[in-house]
């Protein structure tokens, strides 16, 4: 696209310089400071901080609930993306616009409204709580909040991919005698798989860092503590090493996920023309 040796456009030095300066001040130096500070903690202390019972419980809940939420999004997000791209029906545009709602709604508001919905006297809670389903102030609540915030990532990752599937491939499968179910399993599902994994990773990555929506629906109970919440608790106790140990673990997981997502996206782009 731009393989000219002598690029006559001006402003390279200025814009690159400003970009690097701004990134350094806002992102790189502060992140570096965290890593520098955290590296002052000896490995054995770090291990002790990270494997305290309360830290372990919070990390378990964070990763477990994020995994379940991402899995739920993989199922319902794929279904939604399929319905929104393939079918014409009344209300399709409204649903399509609504999918971005969790992304646009501030997390604090999301957490508050979900908490009151599933609370015993809430619109949903009044039916669910008598059945023994506690959607607020419980681990299930954490999953609900994380599913809510992760949904757009799944749907928006899949929609363009479904749109780009060539109908001819499906027609060929049908002509060769495959039923719709078989075509889906053997032809469509394999084409969607890399993107479903990308959406899963994006949704999971969003979920492990999520704080605002969860803090309201978890109700501040010890059994519903997620890692970001515990970081805030540690900070309020001025326990900086405790906060930093958890923060570094979350950062490392985010970076690994980022690398996975990047390679998944390269895999996906092989399927595109």
């Amino acid at each position: 696209m731009l393989n000219r040796k002598h690029n006559p456009l001006p402003g390279f030095g200025l814009t690159l310089g400003f970009t690097l300066f701004y990134l350094s001040v806002i992102v790189l130096i502060p992140l570096g400071a965290l890593i520098l500070r955290a590296s002052e903690i000896s490995p054995s202390d770090f291990w002790a901080l990270a494997t305290k019972e309360r830290s372990l419980a919070a990390l378990r809940l964070t990763f477990g609930a994020s995994f379940i939420a991402a899995a739920l999004n993989a199922v319902f997000g794929t279904l939604l993306a399929w319905v929104l791209t393939r079918y014409e029906f009344f209300g399709r545009r409204l649903l399509d616009a609504l999918v971005d709602f969790p992304f646009a709604l501030p997390t604090a508001v999301a957490g508050m409204t979900l908490a009151t919905l599933f609370a015993p006297e809430g619109w949903l809670g009044q039916f669910l709580v008598p059945l023994g389903i506690h959607g607020a102030y419980s681990k299930l609540g954490v999953v609900i909040a994380l599913t809510f915030t992760g949904l757009p990532f799944m749907v928006r990752t899949l929609q363009p991919v479904i749109e780009n599937i060539e109908r001819e491939v499906e027609e060929a499968a049908a002509t060769l005698g495959a039923g719709r179910g078989m075509t889906f399993r053997r032809v469509i599902a394999p084409m969607l798989l890399p993107s479903i994994l990308t959406g899963f990773a994006l949704s999971f990555g969003r979920a492990i860092g999520e704080y605002g929506s969860v803090v309201f629906i978890s109700g501040g109970l010890t059994s519903t503590e997620i890692a970001p919440y515990l970081i805030v608790m540690r900070l309020e106790e001025y326990d900086y090493p405790g906060a930093m140990a958890l923060a570094v673990i979350l950062l490392v997981v985010s970076f690994v996920l980022l690398a996975i997502i990047n390679s998944l996206e390269r895999w996906v782009s092989r399927f595109e023309r």
Binding site: M1, L2, N3, N7, L9, G11, F12, T15, L16, T19, L20, Y22, I26, V27, L28, I29, L31, A33, L34, L80, V83, L84, R86, Y87, F89, F90, G91, L95, A97, L98, V99, D100, F101, P106, T107, A108, V109, M112, L117, F148, R156, P160, E170, E171, T175, R180, G209, E210, Y211, G212, F216, P228, I231, V232, L235, Y238, M244, A247, F255, L258
Partner: protein, 306 residues
């Protein structure tokens, strides 16, 4: 919920499916599930915000919006957005120019670094500024001697907000400008335009919708950010509470209706953001379609994903 919705859909026309479409029953079932899921998970939470806000009546609703502490929170939120959004806009334009118009080593790394704030937990985003500027941090004692407060004050809130909203504008502009290519700009330069003229009259008009879209998303997140701001704010009522923090304080203090009243403002902001997004997508689609019919214009589609 799902049942009532897909019944109204019953009369839909039946087309020839040529074996590449699901049977009508499966299709209806899937659409029903989609409506049911979106109804419970998206529509109910939205309606609930307004229902809860009006639980004590319109008068209480209006009253809780004009208390001095809430007004202070609204002012602070507007101030923070007014500083951080323009800064990130300038950054986004500069980053897009350098990435989409020039080749240099390390470009993929730079793109990854620009996206990095999206992968960092908001709480960690707040924590890093506490470590740099807090009293126990690297610069804290030095700043304290000079009576400059960053953490538990507005500068910290602005910094945390800039961090979490940094990628929005750049992300929208980079793929679009890469797809457009630099031929129009090179032509303008050849015809004697200066660098700035080229930017204002050639580049900016061709990316204006994507720029606007990025700014809208950036602003929406800047006004709604909770986690990062919560860590650096110190929660001083009337001074360092932004709207989301004010909402939390009211909610935790058993003033649910008041909390939801303030939340309606942020919810309306989210709805306006969605409306503008839909409108901008429609516009861009239209520009794209007309570009395809007129031969002199090249491909200008851009993916508008979150």
């Amino acid at each position: 919920m799902a049942g009532t919705v897909h019944r109204s859909w019953n009369a839909a026309s039946r087309k020839s499916t040529r074996g590449t479409e699901e049977s009508p029953w499966i299709r209806r079932l899937l659409i029903g599930i989609a409506f049911g899921f979106c109804g419970v998970f998206l529509l109910l939470p939205l309606a609930n915000v307004f229902s809860q806000a009006l639980a004590d009546g319109w008068k209480a609703f209006g009253g809780s919006l004009v208390t001095p502490d809430t007004r202070a929170a609204i002012r602070l939120t507007l101030l923070v957005a007014a500083i951080s959004v323009p800064l990130n806009m300038v950054f986004g334009v500069a980053a897009a120019w350098t990435i989409a118009r020039f080749e240099f080593p390390g470009k993929p790394l730079l793109i990854t670094l620009i996206d990095l704030p999206f992968s960092v937990s908001p709480v960690v985003a707040g924590l890093i500024y506490v470590i740099v500027f807090g009293l126990q941090g690297y610069l804290g004692p030095w700043l304290d001697e000079r009576n400059i407060q960053v953490i538990f004050a507005t500068p910290g809130i602005v910094l945390a907000t800039i961090f979490v909203t940094l990628p929005f504008v750049a992300r929208e502009l980079i793929p679009l400008m890469q797809a457009q290519g630099s031929e129009p700009e090179q032509a303008a330069l050849t015809l004697g335009a200066s660098g700035w003229q080229t930017f204002w009259h050639v580049t900016l008009p061709s990316v204006k919708w994507a720029l606007l879209y990025g700014v809208i998303l950036c602003n929406s997140r800047a006004m709604g950010e909770f986690g990062a701001v919560s860590v650096v704010s110190g929660h001083i009522t009337g001074r360092t509470d932004t709207m989301p923090l004010r909402i939390e304080k009211l909610f935790v203090g058993f003033q649910g209706a008041a909390a939801f009243s303030v939340a309606t403002l942020l919810t309306l902001l989210a709805l306006v953001t969605l409306l503008l997004k839909t409108w901008l997508e429609w516009r861009q689609q239209r520009d794209h379609d007309s570009a395809q019919t007129s031969p002199e214009d090249s491909d200008s589609a851009t993916p508008l994903d979150p």
